[in-house]
């Protein structure tokens, strides 16, 4: 790989870490009580990224599809679990729902991009597959979190309305589809917002990275466009899947609203 960029040494990293003093200072002055979480978050970020750097360095030398797919699967599983961890309520099976939705959405979208759009040879080339999958997963995870959370809250706040309709003879879909629609809409908002202002307000991280690494800005922009479409499709599929699965769980085949399945997390 060409290296027409300035490599960063550990000393320079330490210098950058000094910037966290701004956050800690602010937290201390305003008594935000964030000092400890900020330090932990900063530490986690540094350790996780350094580790993943080593993992990626090793990974990019691999040529075994199974190893690469296994890593991809682990990433997907972590995304699926993380998506649920941010919701306020749980029900039995919610982790499976999330895993299944993340897996199906990211596999479809990333697979299509690798084989159909970018046409990477071989299709599992980790230099392409892993970062692109990561981008899709990160955004799908956010969408799923938001969508699931909104769906469950929507059913709780609109419980009387849903049950009034059920009591009048509505099917579970007739009674609850406004909540399904709303949850999918809310889950999609961040993706749509970020597409709206992309390049105007925000310079996306991946594109910035490519440019810093010396790529032609036009090429970087093209990659970014592909990625954004992947993200939008992945998030939409993931949210759609997870909300429909949750719908099937929380509205029983007997057309009952089963809020008793929900448990609040602390």
């Amino acid at each position: 790989m060409e290296t027409d960029y300035i490599a960063i040494s550990y000393g320079q990293l330490a210098l950058a870490a000094l910037l966290i003093v701004v956050n800690v200072g602010l937290s201390a002055t305003l008594r935000l009580g964030l000092g400890q979480s900020l330090l932990i978050a900063a530490l986690r970020m540094v350790v996780q990224l350094l580790l993943i750097g080593f993992v990626l360095e090793w990974l990019f030398t691999q040529d075994n599809a199974l190893i690469i797919l296994a890593i991809a699967l682990v990433m997907t599983a972590i995304a699926g679990i993380a998506a649920v961890n941010r919701t306020q309520r749980r029900f039995a099976g919610i982790y499976w729902h999330s895993l299944l939705s993340v897996l199906a959405a990211s596999a479809l979208v990333t697979g299509f991009a690798m084989v159909g759009i970018i046409r990477v040879q071989p299709w599992y080339d980790p230099q392409y597959l892993i970062p692109m999958l990561g981008m899709v997963l990160g955004n799908t995870l956010n969408g799923i979190s938001l969508g699931l959370d909104r769906f469950m809250e929507g059913l709780i706040t609109q419980r009387d309305q849903v049950e009034t309709l059920l009591a009048l003879g509505a099917t579970r879909w007739e009674a609850a589809h406004p909540q399904v629609r709303n949850a999918i809409r809310v889950g999609m908002i961040p993706t749509i917002n970020s597409m709206m202002v992309m390049g105007l307000v925000s310079l996306p991280g991946m594109m910035t990275g490519q440019i810093l690494a010396g790529a032609n800005p036009i090429d970087a922009v093209r990659y970014q466009i592909v990625i954004m479409f992947m993200i939008a499709a992945g998030a939409a599929l993931g949210i759609f899947g997870v909300v429909l699965l949750a719908y099937r769980r929380l509205l029983s085949p007997d057309h009952q609203l089963r809020l008793d399945y929900l448990e609040e997390t602390q």
């Binding site: 009387d160 309305q161 049950e163 009034t164 309709l165 059920l166 009591a167 009048l168 003879g169 509505a170 099917t171 007739e174 029983s252 007997d254 057309h255 009952q256 609203l257 089963r258």
Partner: protein, 243 residues
Amino acid sequence: MYCREAAALNRLSAEFIDREPKMEPNQPLLAVENLSRQLSERWLWRGVSFELVPGDCVGLVAPSGAGKTLLMRNLALLDPIQQGDVRFEGKTPSEWGLPTYRSQVMMVPQRAIALDGTVQDNLAQVFDLDIYRQRRFDPTILQTWLQKLGRGPDFLNLQGTRLSGGEAQIMALLRALQLNPRVLLLDEPTASLDAATTAQVESLLHDWLQHSSRACLLTSHDTEQIRRVTHRQINLGEFGKRL
């Protein structure tokens, strides 16, 4: 063309069935057997059995917290049945299909919920539900009922979400009545109404029950009302004490 005729024929036969239910004499409309309900570890009531025959109006009485509303929710299958059996005309709710069952055994909850729009929208939009697709919203019958309840026709133009508690109860009762259920489950139907309107609702209910194939189960905190309106009472407290 063929489709439209077939639809019209369907509608005719649907109306025909609505008006002339085939009833075996003395066959119960609703049969409840050994119904029990548990909240966490505690049994609220156990072994509740009774029948509603056509023309019946039965009062469900019990102290507060004994689970009257939960029994009604169980009869409407809004909550799953933990133990026991509910049948409408000899068939279980699952055999009917839940939407069909609930269109026949209809619960009107104590807290009336208005959907979007005016009272008229509220009443008309339930006909969009799949189960009523062969029926049409009928404003004329509503005018008659509104008159009996001492409301003018402009009641239909009020915004649903701005109704008072009592007005919402009237709206919810009319919304259910117009769908022509066979069994009405009324949970405190006049709790938010003044004395005059309460009397009018009671008389409307009395008229509605004149139809030979209907029955009604009703809860009320007002023992006088239970005595006035119902033919007999089920004391749910009895099913709790026996434990």
